[in-house]
């Protein structure tokens, strides 16, 4: 295991664990959130570290990481984009939006699989993945860039230009 956890992050994690006095296992999600927030993704070392911290077998942590699409197992770009592909957005052109962003940001999605849904641009600036409903079905297609919500996206150049 070779993961360096800063002291203040570990302090925060220790605090979160105390919220679950009955079973440390219940703290898996809050700990993973803290780790992803800090590192941007949860790699093998982070899984092992979490398991050791919560006195679990690593597989019990991996189960959680692989269940939630919100947890990333590989590094995203500087800006992470999530394009909604649920019905309304799909009908409003989310697949075209995805293609357009990939073309303009130089992202190759050919290697994307069910297990590894994230593609990163060559310069590492953008990463992208499909997401399920982002709760704005009337204004599709929609996407999230980091935590910014963009509705009825038509101008991809303008969208990308907002992120330097």
């Amino acid at each position: 295991m070779s993961i360096a956890i800063p002291a203040d992050l570990e302090k925060e994690i220790d605090k979160r664990i105390t919220h679950y006095p009955v079973s440390k296992r219940s703290a898996v999600l809050p700990v993973l959130h803290a780790l992803q927030h800090h590192f941007g993704f949860i790699d093998e070392d982070a899984v092992e570290w979490t398991a050791a911290k919560l006195e679990l077998e690593p597989i019990k942590v991996l189960e959680v990481v692989t269940f939630y699409p919100g947890f990333r197992q590989s590094a995203p770009g500087k800006y992470h984009i999530r394009v909604c592909r649920t019905l309304s957005c799909a009908m409003a052109g989310s697949y075209e939006l995805m293609e357009s962003i990939c073309e303009k940001a130089d992202i190759d999605r050919s290697g994307v699989t069910h297990h590894d849904p994230i593609a990163v641009s060559k310069d590492g600036k953008f990463s992208i993945e499909f997401a399920e409903c982002l709760a704005s079905c009337g204004t599709g297609p929609v996407c999230l860039v980091q935590d910014d919500f963009h509705e009825a996206v038509k101008d991809v150049d303008g969208l990308l230009a907002q992120y330097k």
């Binding site: 077998e57 690593p58 597989i59 991996l62 692989t66 269940f67 069910h114 297990h115």
Partner: protein, 570 residues
């Protein structure tokens, strides 16, 4: 049923009323009533997650009267009319209630089962012809009974990992897995080695071990037994034999004093696999891998197949008559005090009874066995690695088994003991003896299943049958009397120890009159105080507590705690 009458609850199953103890699971009540409820995830020894949905049944309770209405009148047997619920319930995780009705047949249940089967088969590969589970696969069986016979699924099946090496003894085919999670619960709850889990839950749910970890605990192969499909297969057994070709014999495991109940699967006198057999007083439903896999030597090249006598420096084959006659003539010239017998606690009670007769007949100076005390594993493996030490103590009257071996060695060196009979043991490898220790003996006889260094030094070497090749009874560490049943015939001219000893007694001027292990059992149960009055039928398939040694089996103690907490049915 021994419960108080007041604890019994009336439940109607498929139109007939039965009584069951309070707290009984619906599925167990149905089982007791002789009604099969198909299921995959439910296992009485594990917690019930209720995830496979195969055990859905119709359930009903007496309807609550509307305000102002009179309650319904019970019929002449005291049963109230049942109002059936419009939706099915799972039978595995729900308990019975007074006056409950359960319907396991009818359009609703049938439709549920058909639906569940269709979902399970949507992504299941149709590779039964090359699948080891075929013939003992719950998916196959329930598909025939409750499925549709053809698939409506025209889409692409989900691709998952195949032929995954998840541990030293087990291989995983994730496409065959139906996600019942029995194996995960077994490793979590019984083996205390929670290395299995589901990753990518959803349409790609995948059973997995963590990268770099493996399912390697000494109970791992039990997951193969409880896997209802062919997802987990044993490296030892896969592709070896179709299950319907094998003969199954209920017997007991001889690798330690626990005496795990097992089934030996064989074909044409060759053992192909060993599986545990449920016995709640011995091994629950499990067996350690190390015991299960310790059978390959039985069919090995190293088996002794013919009687041998020493001819100069080597041995030559001979007939049983010659070998026994030679042994008898050597023994006849000696005083009893010059003869020592080392028998084995791997022998059955019947064989030990013959050892006792032989010792009395020859008036032997020493009788002992080879002890095998190691450490218990805290689950099923007893500290005593002999299967029948308890029997040997009772029948041979040994207080401290093995304590006389040193004296026998000294007596041989001092020339006080001139003949040594080593029955079903190998003193050089398994006790503190060396080949030189035997050099001053006038006569050394051994019987053993395998070629071994003690036999190398012996004047007469007799091929003895191994545990799978004989019948009889053994007493486990707790004092439970259990049946050992013959599964296969021994190779070549091997003989069972009781036959060898009978012939020795006969040729040294003793009596005869024993023709079968049944005769022996009758003699044993009329002559040995602790055994008096026991009948063969009384022992049955699950054994009987004959004496109480005060020993316990750790795994059973843990299981009883889980039952008491209501976690499992048991």
């Amino acid at each position: 049923m021994s419960e108080e009458k007041s604890d019994l609850i009336d439940v109607q199953i498929d139109g007939e009323w039965h009584k069951f103890p309070k707290g009984t699971r619906m599925i167990e009540a149905c089982k007791e009533a002789g009604v099969e409820v198909p299921h995959y995830c439910y296992h009485p020894k594990l917690t019930s997650p209720g995830n496979c949905r195969m055990c859905l049944v119709e359930m009903g309770m007496p309807p609550r009267p509307r305000p102002g209405d009179d309650p319904a009148e019970p019929d002449e047997d005291g049963h109230l009319p049942i109002g059936w619920m419009p939706r099915p319930v799972i039978a595995c995780a729900n308990t019975i209630a007074p006056n409950m009705g359960i319907r396991t047949t009818g359009p609703l249940t049938e439709e549920c089962r058909r639906g569940v089967m269709e979902f399970l088969l949507a992504n299941h590969p149709l590779d039964c012809p090359i699948c080891d589970q075929a013939g003992e696969c719950s998916l196959q069986e329930f598909s025939v009974e409750h499925g549709k016979g053809e698939s409506r699924f025209r889409e692409q099946k989900v691709k998952k990992p195949k032929n995954v090496d998840i541990g030293p003894r087990i291989r995983l085919d994730d496409e065959r897995c139906i996600m019942c999670s029995r194996c995960i619960r077994f490793t979590d709850e019984i083996a205390d080695d929670p290395v299995l889990g589901f990753t990518d839950r959803g349409s790609h749910t995948t059973l997995a071990v963590h990268p770099g970890h493996e399912l390697a605990n000494n109970y791992s192969l039990n997951t193969v037994d409880i896997c209802p499909v062919g997802a987990l297969t044993s490296n030892d057994f896969r592709f070896q034999m179709r299950v319907w070709f094998m003969k199954e014999v209920n017997t007991i495991d001889p690798n330690c004093g626990t005496g795990c109940n097992i089934v030996v699967h064989s074909r044409q006198d060759e053992i192909y696999r060993i599986t545990p057999r449920e016995n709640n007083d011995v091994n629950s439903a499990w067996i350690p891998d190390s015991h299960r896999l310790n059978y390959h030597w039985i069919n090995s090249e190293l088996r002794l197949t013919d009687p041998l006598i020493k001819d100069g420096k080597s041995h030559r084959q001979t007939s049983w008559e010659d070998a026994i006659e030679l042994s008898a003539s050597k023994l006849s010239g000696l005083k009893g005090s010059e003869i020592a017998i080392v028998a084995s606690a791997r022998m059955t009670n019947e064989e030990l009874f013959m050892v006792r007769r032989l010792a009395t007949h020859l008036d032997a100076g020493y009788v002992d066995i080879v002890p095998r005390m190691e450490k218990s594993d805290g689950y099923l493996i007893s500290a005593d690695r002999n299967p029948n030490t308890t029997g040997a103590k009772l029948i041979l009257g040994l207080e401290d088994p093995g304590s006389k071996l040193g004296k026998i060695k000294d007596a041989i060196i001092k020339d006080e003991v001139k003949a040594l009979l080593v029955l079903q043991e190998n003193l050089i490898d398994d006790a503190d003896f060396a080949a030189e220790d035997f050099s001053s003996l006038e006569f050394l006889l051994t019987s053993y299943p395998m070629a071994n260094p003690t036999a190398e030094a012996a004047d007469v070497v007799l091929p003895g049958a191994c545990w799978a090749e004989k019948s009889g009874t053994m007493l486990n560490v707790t004092g439970r009397l259990q049946r050992l049943n013959q599964a296969i015939d021994g190779p070549g001219q091997t003989m069972q120890s009781w036959e060898i000893i009978r012939d020795l007694i006969q040729n040294t001027g003793g009596g005869n009159g024993i023709y079968s292990t049944q005769d022996l059992f009758n003699l044993l149960t009329s002559e040995i105080p602790d055994f008096v009055g026991v009948t063969w039928d009384q022992i049955g398939d699950l054994g009987m507590q004959l004496v109480d040694t005060g020993e316990t089996i750790p795994l059973l103690e843990k299981e009883r705690q889980r039952i008491a907490k209501g976690l499992i049915v048991g």
